[in-house]
């Protein structure tokens, strides 16, 4: 009864996710000491996103939650991306045209 009382992740899953998060942290710290130019921020943010996904899907149990809750989470991420991409599309494109200031 106690194990079936909730259909969340098992203890083993929690420890595996924790191990993965620690390993990914070590990798991202190690990579930051290498000279990769434009790749440094890309690698760091990809690793951060994998870590965030692991926390959200397993520790926050979104993988096991209802469709409604998943949709709320996805909409939050969607509006964050909208905020960042529309803001950056302005600042990054300044200077592309030759119109006098």
């Amino acid at each position: 009864m106690t194990e079936q009382a909730h259909n969340g992740p098992s203890l083993k899953t929690y420890f595996l996710i924790w191990g993965a998060l620690i390993v990914l942290t070590s990798i991202t710290v190690g990579v930051s000491y290498l000279e990769l130019g434009a790749l440094n921020p890309i690698v760091a943010l990809v690793i951060a996103t994998i870590k965030a996904l692991l926390v959200i899907l397993f520790f926050m149990e979104i993988r096991y939650s209802s469709k409604m809750t998943m949709m709320v989470v996805v909409s939050g991420v969607f509006f964050l991306i909208l905020l960042l991409s529309l803001t950056l599309s302005d600042y990054l494109s300044r200077g592309w045209s030759h119109v006098a200031r």
């Binding site: 009382a5 969340g8 930051s32 926390v55 809750t69 939050g76 964050l80 960042l84």
Partner: protein
């Protein structure tokens, strides 16, 4: 789920406007996530400001970022990840009616949270004595092709973002202390444990914010000149 409707009806934690404990739990989880979505947008504004200024004043950003101590940042990242593990363990044991283990893991989570804040305080103190706090006494030995005032903008955002994050940690530690008292009182059972789970969601969210703050503030400019 296996419990009969009759026992669920008599659960004192069931509010009268919910059909059963499962519906109540679903509603609580949805409401908590709606709050966390507003938190995503709240931190999102600061992340947007960070990205814009990083693009505008790239050299100053690199210079400011290289004042961060990666070792302390990495230590704090590990501390937070461990605290997220102890938090899920507290939730897990709450669902299994193991009151003593819930209390033990809540207390470990609180200690790890306080440890994070302690390391952060050491970092803030180092910035303070190195005159890296924006304002009248800001002094930055600048060697590259940038305006030192722009380094102040970096440090302003650094203090705003990590300060807001630390403030969330303080709220989190307070919530966990309240949970510990309630757990000791025996409020949480396998049927009713939403407060532990919802505070857990909040705690993990604060961890996710740090997962992005750490590379953005400490790591990505480390090797750039």
């Amino acid at each position: 789920m296996q419990a009969s409707p009759a026992t669920e009806h008599h659960n004192p934690a069931l509010k009268h406007h919910f059909a059963d404990m499962a519906q109540q739990k679903e509603t609580v989880t949805l409401g908590m996530w709606l709050f966390l979505v507003t938190e995503i947008m709240f931190f999102g504004g600061m992340f947007a400001a960070y990205l814009v200024y990083r693009i505008l004043y790239y050299n100053a950003w690199v210079a400011g970022s290289q004042q961060m101590e990666i070792k302390l940042g990495a230590l704090n990242t590990a501390v937070l990840i461990c605290s997220s593990l102890t938090m899920v363990l507290a939730v897990h044991f709450a669902k299994e009616n193991k009151k003593n283990l819930v209390v033990v893991f809540l207390l470990i989570t609180i200690l790890l949270g306080l440890g994070f804040l302690g390391v952060k305080a050491v970092e803030y103190h180092n910035h303070w004595i190195h005159h890296e706090v924006p304002g009248q006494y800001f002094a930055f030995e600048h060697t590259g092709n940038y305006d030192p005032r722009h380094v102040q903008i970096f440090f302003s955002l650094y203090f705003a973002m990590t300060g807001m994050h630390a403030f969330h940690m303080i709220i989190g530690v307070s919530l966990l202390s309240w949970l510990t008292i309630r757990a000791l009182r025996g409020d949480f059972t396998s049927e009713y444990n939403s407060p532990v789970e919802m505070c857990g969601l909040y705690w993990h969210f604060v961890d996710v914010v740090w997962i992005y703050l750490f590379p953005l503030l400490y790591l990505i400019s480390h090797q750039h000149v």
